[in-house]
Symmetry: C2
Subunit: 131 residues, 2 copies
DNA sequence: CAGCATCCTTATTGATACTG
DNA sequence: CAGTATCAATAAGGATGCTG
């Protein structure tokens, strides 16, 4: 049951190549039309933008407001429930910045040293059986 | 540059089918051997456990301590840097619980109602050109 | 304008067998 | 015990064209 708390599920909900960027846009700009999102995220395709938005909508993170008119107009925005993600995103963002600096000091050049503890055991049985 | 802050990158680091579970185990149990993790996560294969651990290690989130002995013994634990993820995980966990309840009230049965705003425009041009 | 349908490519995950 | 290597299956993402 609680093999890993809710943590895994949240990652699944937030995961997806473009979801973070979409949420970021909506947080910054409030309400945006489909085409505005496309302009803001030039590399995403229409298909992906649609599917990622639909998933976010399914989880009640973004709101989809359809204007019945020609030409069509659809506006997206964070729902109230989606806005409750703010502390999560803030925490991730803060950690991300610290992490980046930290990694630079580590991976600036090389791998982190392997920590090898040579106990060269005599308390443990060498039991590699031959075939 | 800052199209989406650090948010996307953090998701990439934390993303992976088993990483959350692994981190959770290490947070709860402190130090664990490879085989202990396997027992705790019965569905993960050795290959996946290895690769996910290696990725976490690369980002200095988990520590790998090798005992040079026969039979081999390797212990994993959260690094100090990895422990700094605690606020992030807590935030996600809290949100996850609230989210779960929230979703039950929504998706208990049906899709959320489409919010359709019928403005039936007259301020916008109907410009669907015929072929 | 805001999609959906189809087909295709790449990435992630998994099964299985072998090794120091 | 703690892996690696190889191959197979699945899932995620992308290109392109069509539609109301």
């Amino acid at each position: 049951m609680s093999e890993n708390c809710e943590f895994t599920k949240v990652l699944e909900i937030l995961g997806g190549k473009w979801k973070p960027s979409i949420m970021y846009q909506l947080f910054m700009n409030g309400t945006m039309r489909f085409s505005e999102l496309q302009r803001a995220l030039p590399e995403i395709t229409k298909k992906m933008l649609t599917t990622q938005l639909r998933e976010l909508e399914y989880h009640d993170i973004v709101n989809r407001k359809i204007y019945m008119q020609i030409p069509p107009k659809v506006e997206y925005s964070m729902t109230e429930h989606g806005s409750s993600l703010t502390p999560v995103l803030m925490a991730m963002n803060d950690w991300g910045k610290a992490h980046l600096e930290h990694l630079h000091s580590l991976h600036g050049e090389r791998q982190p040293e392997q920590e090898v503890v040579s106990e060269n055991v005599n308390n443990d049985i060498v039991e590699i059986e031959a075939k």
